[in-house]
Structures are given as structure tokens and as C-alpha cells.
């Protein structure tokens, strides 16, 4: 009980700060939406952009006491809760259709980024494991995948830190670059959403990028990103086997258990909620039952919107310009090349398959 109390005390200040800023950001955005007359300026005052930029300004300009740190860093928890709740909005048949195509694209994308980053990091003489970590981060899902892989391939602390810094720098740049490129190319919500889900590394930044583009794009981004997250275990297992065969890491003995441990459980939660609501909607008889369920789905959608709003504040607060500047040049060059290559490659794939993608 004492331990639980201590955990609550550790997290409370940071979480309270995020909640206050999230509510303040939403109120400010709602007000700006009513007073700004020019449409394109109004779109820049969306709750996502206000939350991220507000978080960045406070995180970089205000010296926040250390006791806020744990709570601020817990925003990934809210992100995952939000994603699970989003499951209620999708029919499982749609998830399966988009997920099937998504998984196929993701397998190609992951193979491409691993081969590309490995070759490029050799060219720039990065430590081999750092190159592997960057390729895992670029190919799959950013920070979580890097942390998962770092333990399995026994990477050094500074290799892991660098790889994470590279992913975070590009996550921050993606928030600006992708929506701009998408608008310049006149991409549909569907095509852009899938592209952002495939190309932006970290789950929080990917969701934010989709949300900046449009609400409709966010749904596609989340599903595409979940396909990448779902494959995380397989890629980490592949690297773990690769390094253990070279005597550079411990051998993985129980591969099934390893895969289960690395499988992101929130993806499972998302799928379960989607199945549950699909069954409820199929079983609902009469207009009254359906409108009751629709109202409940809206309630869950709003909850997930709030969970994402907390995440966007956290993304902003965590983005440190000083840390960005400290990242060395070589990993950044490899990062730039990898990100640009993956962005171009996934964009090409999205244009090829977009006709086959189901509309949500």
C-alpha cells in the first residue's frame, strides 16, 4: 500500500501538469477556431498543433522541477489507452481488410529499412549495434522498439541513447514535414493517413502527424502504425538471433515466449474492443439499440481524443531542442538518409496500393 502511494506521488505532479495543459490547450484551440476568420490559419490552431507547440515552448523555456519528470514521461500510457479505446470505432472486418494489406506493406517496409540503414551505417562507420537499433526504430515503432531491441542484442547505453535521439529528432521534424508534403501533393486522408502510419517512427508522433492532417487521416494512421507495432517482436527476435550467432548477445531459447513478451498488448486490446463492438452492433436490434450504441461509441471516441490530447502535450514537453543539438552528426546523417528513403519508399507503396485500401 505504501509502495502504491509512493508511485502515485511520483507520477501525480507530472500527470496533473499534462492534464491542466491539455484542458487549457483545448479551450484555447476552441476559442481560436471561433475568432480566426482565415481557413488555413484556423487549421494551424487545431488542438493538436496548439498542444504540441505549447508543450514544446513550456518544456524548453520553463525550467520545470524534476518532480514533474516521471508523470510527463508517462504520456505513452495515455497514448496506448487512447489507441485501445479507438478500437470501438472500427468494425473488425474493416480492421482485418486494412490490416491484411497493411501487414504486407509493413513487411516490405521493414525489410527495406533494415537493409538500407545497415548498409548506410556501415558506410558512415557507425557501431554495428547502433545501426541495427536505428533500423529497428525507423522500420518499426521508434522508441519502444529500440528499447526492446537494445536489451535483446545487448547494445551499449550510449548506442541506445543515440538511436533514440535520432528517432525523436525525426519524429519532431515529421510533425511539420509530413502534413506539409501531404498538402503539397494533394493527398487524400486515406493515402496520407496510411503513409504517416508507415513512415513516421514513434507511435506518439505518428498519431500526432495523422491528427494534424485531419481526423479522418488519424484513423488510417493508427491502423497502419498498429501493423508495424504488431511485427515488433519478429524483428527484434531476428536481430537477437543474428547477434547471438555471432557471439555478441545471449541466445534466445524460448522463441514463442520471446515473441509473446515483445508483442504490444495494447494492439491486442484494440483488436478485442473492435471485436466486442462489432458483435454488439451486429446483435443490436432496432433503431433505439443502435443509437444507444452509437452514443456510447461517441463517448469512447471522446475519451480517446482526450487521451491523445494528453499525449500531444507530453510529446511537446519531451521534445528537447538541447538534446537535439547534442546528437552527433554521423547518426543524424544516417537518420536523414534512412528517413528520406523510407518516406519515399512507403509513399511509392501507398500510391500503388491506395485503390485496394478499404474506406473506414
Amino acid at each position: 500500500m505504501k509502495k502504491l502511494f509512493q508511485v502515485v506521488l511520483d507520477y501525480l505532479p507530472g500527470v496533473a501538469l499534462i492534464v491542466v495543459l491539455a484542458i487549457g490547450g483545448k479551450i484555447l484551440s476552441n476559442w481560436l477556431q471561433t475568432v480566426i476568420a482565415v481557413a488555413w490559419v484556423r487549421s494551424l490552431a487545431s488542438n493538436v498543433i496548439i498542444a504540441i507547440i505549447g508543450g514544446m515552448l513550456i518544456g524548453n523555456l520553463v525550467p520545470l522541477p524534476r518532480f514533474f519528470a516521471r508523470g510527463i514521461n508517462s504520456y505513452e500510457f495515455f497514448l496506448k489507452v487512447g489507441i485501445v479505446l479507438m478500437g470501438a470505432r472500427f468494425l473488425i472486418t474493416d480492421v482485418a481488410r486494412l490490416g491484411g494489406i497493411g501487414l504486407a506493406i509493413v513487411v516490405v517496409e521493414i525489410l527495406f529499412s533494415i537493409v538500407f540503414v545497415s548498409l548506410f551505417s556501415r558506410l558512415f562507420q557507425l557501431p554495428q549495434k547502433m545501426g541495427s537499433l536505428i533500423s529497428v526504430g525507423v522500420g518499426i515503432c521508434g522508441v519502444s522498439a529500440i528499447i526492446g531491441a537494445a536489451g535483446s542484442i545487448e547494445a551499449r547505453k550510449e548506442e541506445t541513447g543515440y538511436a533514440i535521439a535520432v528517432i525523436l529528432v525525426f519524429g519532431a521534424l515529421a510533425l511539420i514535414a509530413y502534413p506539409l508534403l501531404g498538402r503539397l501533393m494533394g493527398m487524400s486522408d486515406k493515402a496520407f493517413g496510411v503513409w504517416a502510419g508507415l513512415a513516421v517512427d514513434n507511435t506518439a508522433e505518428a498519431v500526432a502527424t495523422g491528427a494534424i492532417y485531419s481526423k479522418a487521416a488519424l484513423a488510417y494512421t493508427t491502423l497502419a502504425k498498429l501493423c508495424r507495432n504488431a511485427l515488433m517482436g519478429f524483428v527484434i527476435l531476428g536481430f537477437a538471433i543474428y547477434y547471438s550467432r555471432r557471439g555478441l548477445a545471449k541466445e534466445v531459447t524460448r522463441k514463442g515466449l520471446f515473441l509473446w513478451q515483445k508483442f504490444p498488448k495494447f494492439v491486442l486490446g484494440f483488436l478485442c474492443l473492435s471485436v466486442l463492438f462489432s458483435i454488439l452492433f451486429a446483435a443490436a436490434r432496432g433503431a433505439e439499440a443502435r443509437s444507444f450504441l452509437a452514443a456510447k461509441t461517441t463517448g469512447l471516441k471522446n475519451l480517446s481524443e482526450w487521451a491523445f490530447q494528453l499525449t500531444f502535450i507530453g510529446v511537446g514537453l519531451r521534445t528537447s531542442f538541447r538534446d537535439m543539438a547534442r546528437t552527433g552528426i554521423s547518426p543524424l546523417v544516417v537518420g536523414v538518409a534512412a528517413e528520406a528513403a523510407v518516406a519515399a519508399f512507403t509513399l511509392g507503396m501507398v500510391f500503388v496500393v491506395q485503390g485496394a485500401l478499404p474506406t473506414l
Partner: protein, 35 residues
């Protein structure tokens, strides 16, 4: 991020919390939050 705390991963807690919220909304205990 899979962090172990008292035997259950943080990832599982996100699922537990989300399902608890969904149950509360379905049961009408938690009102629809405005967005």
C-alpha cells in the same frame, strides 16, 4: 515500452484501464465527456 512493475507489464495496464473505462461508459456510470 514494456516495463515490469509488480509482475504485470505497463502495456497490460493500458488494456485494463481502457477496458475499465469502456465498461463504465457502457454502463452509463461515466458520462460522455465533451470534445
Amino acid at each position: 515500452m514494456e516495463q515490469k512493475r509488480s509482475g504485470i507489464g505497463l502495456d497490460w495496464w493500458t488494456v485494463i484501464v481502457a477496458f475499465a473505462l469502456a465498461a463504465l461508459v457502457l454502463a452509463g456510470v461515466l458520462p460522455n465527456l465533451p470534445w
